[in-house]
């Protein structure tokens, strides 16, 4: 029986954190400590979602993350995490908006999960133009499977 290791490695997690940092919007505006707290929580959620992928997808996804990390060496001579922020953003856009569907899907997973976690984070919700600011009790139990 083949078991894929569930936990992301430290370097994989750092890469995810870097991508998350790039996709998170600047608004609503948060204080630096708040933003750091939110970023950490969002990264944790995105990592847990990658770790939750079915076995047959988990391995290809990690290979894709490795490719994402290493391919910039062909053009920039450095790995993704060694690029400056502008180059990182351009390289990320190449993957997320480019013509290669699997590459788009790799970033789509991280982006959509990051945005979900970001806007449902209490610190962010409290800044949104909504009454109450926080989710009502139990409301989080259903959203993804809202059944017709």
């Amino acid at each position: 029986m083949i078991h894929t290791p569930r936990r992301l490695s430290q370097s994989q997690r750092q890469l995810v954190a870097k991508i998350v940092g790039l996709v998170l919007p600047e608004r609503p505006s948060l204080s630096a400590p708040e933003r750091a707290r939110v970023h950490s929580a969002v990264t944790g959620f995105v990592a847990s979602q990658i770790e939750a992928l079915p076995t047959f997808m988990a391995l290809p996804y990690r290979v894709a993350l490795l490719a994402f990390q290493l391919l910039p060496t062909l053009r920039y001579g450095r790995r993704f995490d060694g690029l400056n922020e502008a180059s990182q953003a351009a390289y990320l856009a190449l993957w997320s908006e480019g013509p290669v569907a699997p590459a788009r899907d790799v970033i789509k997973l991280i982006r959509s999960c990051a945005l979900l976690a970001y806007f449902d984070h209490p610190d962010v919700r409290s800044q949104l133009p909504m009454p109450g600011g926080t989710l009502p009790a139990g409301s989080a139990a259903a959203p993804a499977s809202s059944a017709p």
Binding site: H3, S112, F119, V124, P136, S139, A140, A144, S145, A147
Partner: protein, 848 residues
């Protein structure tokens, strides 16, 4: 929510139950509750954790991480992948869905009958099942009084277009409250699971069933892994009956992993769904998570339109398809809602498992042109509706598509298909992966969920729904599950295959019989009721799983049945309950096994466990049927064994019987109970097994092998004679602690046995025989015996070689002690016994 405290057996024995239900969702929770409330002993296994869903913090990401399978990211692969979302926790998807409820549309009944040959399934028959489940789940409508602003906006839009719509009933106690308020939604954790636990169900969460254990074409249990914190342990759980209720993806995956593939996982149906967000000029109350209660039925059954749950996070996720262009919409999230167009998928998908890969379940569904068309139309109609409801912008979940600002723009999708590659699709409705019905080309189960080829393996979840009902399938799944489990209970009751076994309902037993469905056991039970002393006795018979107990229960209404196995100590304790002062006849054993280790497992350890249970229950006397094989073969043809003959076991069977006698003798010496050992040689008579009929057939065909000159002698015991001896051994006080040979009046030569059978066949029944003999030199028997010994040394066993090896041996005994001490007087001669045997064979359709 708590796991039943007695869920885990820490004795080291395999856990066992009458029924194992796998999965605690809509199908499984109901099935477990119904069975337990009807006095079945049930274990309920759930892969996910036991988390009270109302205690989950109001943070959607935590709910997704803890309650959803694969974090809500189970992919359905195809031309365009879909995200499938299902719960994976105690209560299953009912803990994470909206609690919407639909009855099965009438057209489905007729279509399923025509296409799937589904029996016993009409709207009239199902009416009562729907009503009962609806009452249990408090299914209700709120009407206008419970209408939220989001619902009102949607209704006004629908009415302005003149479309048909309905308020969807929901499983919730207060119909005017938000479905996600505390205690409102009636999920399985609020309804059937508490009932199941109250009725004694042992629930084991964090238990992933890897495969169903199959033996000789029957399901005998499950092999599972139980996770406890960071550790995991392999468990084996034995059961008489298994219900697989893991949902439309995991049920076929489990069956296929277990080697059951016929029509399994080939017919997956889904409801592909596309979403859109809408911005209104005014504030809407989407943020309070109240889903609009109306659904558009104008385009049903192909397309249904309605609202979806809203959080800012989910809005952002939807907008992420075109994030750079649409991110500004988040500034107005208080004016936005999320809506869906669900279509009736028209293709068939599949579920497959990757061999050797843990949790390697691959789900495929290839959207076809019709699906693409319907999704395009669905999105067009949804946009049309939203603008009619007052939307000023619609954000479809389409990659690289602009914001839609008018109904006309939306209607363009009526003419032009949206590329599948642009669609971001999901589904929450999957079903039909193990369709039920009588059509052998399509159906994985019969019309009541019993898996084809198995009499004790059932499916009872959304997998059974033969094809798309066009509505949320939870209502249909649960009504069908109720129907099927009640059918199962009625059927079991009728056939007495799985008697309910609560102690309070178990009558006292005066006599216990093991091996009762066997050759000797059935006649013994008949004789018990023919004897004046025991004519009114309560007789309880130990019956193996899957054996037909109806011949026993037909003897008297005082015959009770306990399902069990000598290898299952817990079942033996159940068998011996309420039997203080009773007599136990132990006639079960194995003589021709597949592997020699079974001799020890059944004849020795099984007897040891049975005797321990009998001792604990206060059984007064135990009469054990042993064998000549414990003593071996006579040294010469004129020699007779008696009760003083020393042990000289003949191969594995003989050794196991000698050891069994030692175990019995020790128990007697300890004073556990009174024990009598009855040694029976080769017996014959009605209810004989196939191997004895084969013996007749070979004689008729002239192919029965006679080794040497055929003068070697065999003691035989006609079953009536043997039963007389057993009953005397049970009755006479002085017999306690004694051993007796019980056989016919005298031993017979092999030639006499064959001649007698031939004579009976021809002269009593007019069956022509070839009247020839297959004569073989005695050395053939010696060689067979040597081969038998060699095979058994390797743990193997071959019945033909074993029997041939014994054929040139004399195995004869004296019955003088039984005659003197018990008053035993065999009444049937060899010829009379053989006449009765052949008559029984002919009356029961045996081929001679």
């Amino acid at each position: 929510m708590t796991t039943a405290p007695n869920a885990i057996d820490r004795s080291g024995n395999p856990l066992r139950a009458q029924v194992v239900v796998i999965g605690s969702g809509a199908g499984g929770a109901l099935t477990a509750a119904m069975l337990a409330e009807s006095d079945y002993d049930v274990i309920l296994l759930e892969e996910g954790p036991d988390v009270d869903t109302e205690t989950i913090p109001t943070n959607s990401t935590e709910a997704i991480s803890r309650l959803y399978r694969n974090g809500g990211m189970t992919p359905i692969l195809g031309r365009q992948n879909l995200a499938f979302v299902e719960g994976c926790c105690v209560g299953g998807s009912t803990e994470v869905n909206s609690g919407f409820w639909h009855r099965l549309p009438p057209d489905s009944y007729y279509r399923w009958k025509a296409d799937y040959l589904l029996d016993g399934f009409t709207p009239e028959m199902m009416e009562g099942y729907f009503e009962r489940v609806e009452a249990d789940l408090s299914v209700s409508r709120s009407g206008r009084s419970g209408e939220t602003r989001g619902s009102a906006i949607l209704r006004e839009g629908i009415e302005s277009l003149g479309w048909k719509y309905e308020e969807v009933p929901r499983c919730q106690k207060d119909p005017s409250a938000s479905a996600f308020g505390p205690g409102v939604r009636q999920s399985m954790q609020r309804t059937y699971i508490p009932r199941a636990l109250e009725a004694g169900v042992r629930m084991i969460p964090n238990c992933k069933v890897r495969e169903i254990a199959l033996e000789e074409g029957r399901a005998v249990g499950v092999n599972a892994v139980v996770r406890d914190g960071g550790r995991s342990a392999d468990w084996r759980i034995r059961a008489d009956v298994i219900f697989v209720c893991c949902g439309a993806i995991q049920t076929p995956a489990l069956l296929r992993r277990s080697g059951i593939r016929r029509n399994v996982g080939n017919n997956l149906r889904i409801h592909p769904m596309i979403k859109a967000a809408a911005r209104f000029e005014h504030e809407v109350d989407s943020y309070d998570a109240a889903i609009p209660i109306y659904q558009v039925k104008e385009f049903w059954p192909t397309i249904t339109l309605g609202g979806s749950v809203f959080t800012p996070g989910f809005l952002a996720m939807l907008l992420s398809e075109n994030w750079e262009a649409h991110r500004g919409a988040m500034e107005n999230c208080h004016q936005m809602g999320i809506y869906h167009a669900a279509t009736r998928g028209l293709n068939r998908g599949s579920i497959r498992v990757l061999p050797g890969v843990d949790e390697g379940v691959v789900v495929r569904y290839r959207l076809n042109r019709a699906d693409q068309r319907n999704l395009s139309i669905g999105l067009a109609r949804l946009g049309e509706l939203l603008f009619a409801a007052g939307a000023v912008a619609v954000y479809p979940s389409l990659r690289s598509f602009p914001v839609l600002t008018s109904a006309e723009q939306c209607r363009s999708f009526l003419q032009t298909d949206i590329p599948l590659s642009a669609m971001s699709l999901s589904t929450v409705h999957v079903f039909s992966s193990c369709p039920m019905g009588e059509n052998p080309d399509l159906c994985a189960t019969d019309s009541f969920g019993r898996v084809r080829g198995f009499d004790n393996l059932h499916v009872n979840d959304a997998s059974l729904i033969p094809d798309s009902p066009g509505v949320n399938p939870q209502g249909s799944t649960m009504a069908i599950a109720l129907r099927n489990v009640e059918h199962f209970m009625e059927d079991s009751e009728r056939k007495r295959r799985l008697p309910r076994r609560r102690e309070t309902r178990m009558p006292r037993a005066d006599v216990l019989v093991t091996g009762a469905t066997g050759w000797l056991g059935t006649v013994l039970v008949e004789k018990l009721y023919a004897e004046p002393d025991t004519a009114d006795a309560g007789v309880r018979c130990l019956v193996s799983r899957g054996m037909d107990a109806s011949p026993l229960t037909a003897i008297s209404d005082r015959v009770g049945v306990a399902i069990g196995d000598l290898r299952d100590p817990e079942s033996l304790r159940d068998f011996c309950r309420r039997a203080e002062g009773a007599t136990l006849f132990h006639a079960a054993g194995i003589i021709h096994p597949r592997r020699t280790r079974e001799f020890d497992q059944i004849n020795v350890e099984g007897t040891r466990a049975l005797l321990a249970a009998a001792r604990d229950a206060g059984v007064k006397r135990v009469v054990v049927v042993s064998s000549n094989s414990a003593i071996g073969c006579n040294p010469r043809s004129d020699h007779l064994f008696d009760e003083h003959s020393p042990y000289d076991p003949y191969l594995g069977y003989g050794r196991s019987k000698a050891e069994m006698e030692r175990v019995v003798t020790q128990a007697q010496a300890r004073g556990d109970f009174e024990a009598v050992i009855v040694r029976a040689p080769w017996f014959y008579g009605p209810h004989q097994p196939a191997r004895q009929t084969q013996f007749f057939h070979m004689i008729r065909q002239g192919r029965f092998p006679i080794l040497g000159d055929g003068s070697q002698r065999r003691s035989m015991a006609y079953v009536d004679n043997l039963c007389q001896g057993l009953l005397l051994a049970a009755k006479l006080e002085a017999a306690a602690g004694e051993t007796y040979w019980i056989a016919d009046e005298r031993a017979y030569s092999i030639n006499e046995i064959v001649d007698t059978v031939e004579d009976v066949l021809e002269n009593e029944f007019g069956i022509r025989c070839r009247r020839s003999r297959l004569r073989l030199p005695a050395i053939v028997g010696d060689l067979a015996q040597a081969a038998d010994g060699a095979l058994q040394a390797l743990g193997l066993y071959d019945q033909r070689i074993h029997v041939l090896g014994e054929m040139n041996q004399t195995i004869a005994c004296s019955i003088d002690k039984a005659k003197v001490e018990l008053g035993y007087a065999p009444r049937f001669s060899l010829r009379e016994g053989m006449v009765a045997s052949v008559r029984w064979c002919l009356e029961n359709g045996q081929h001679l």
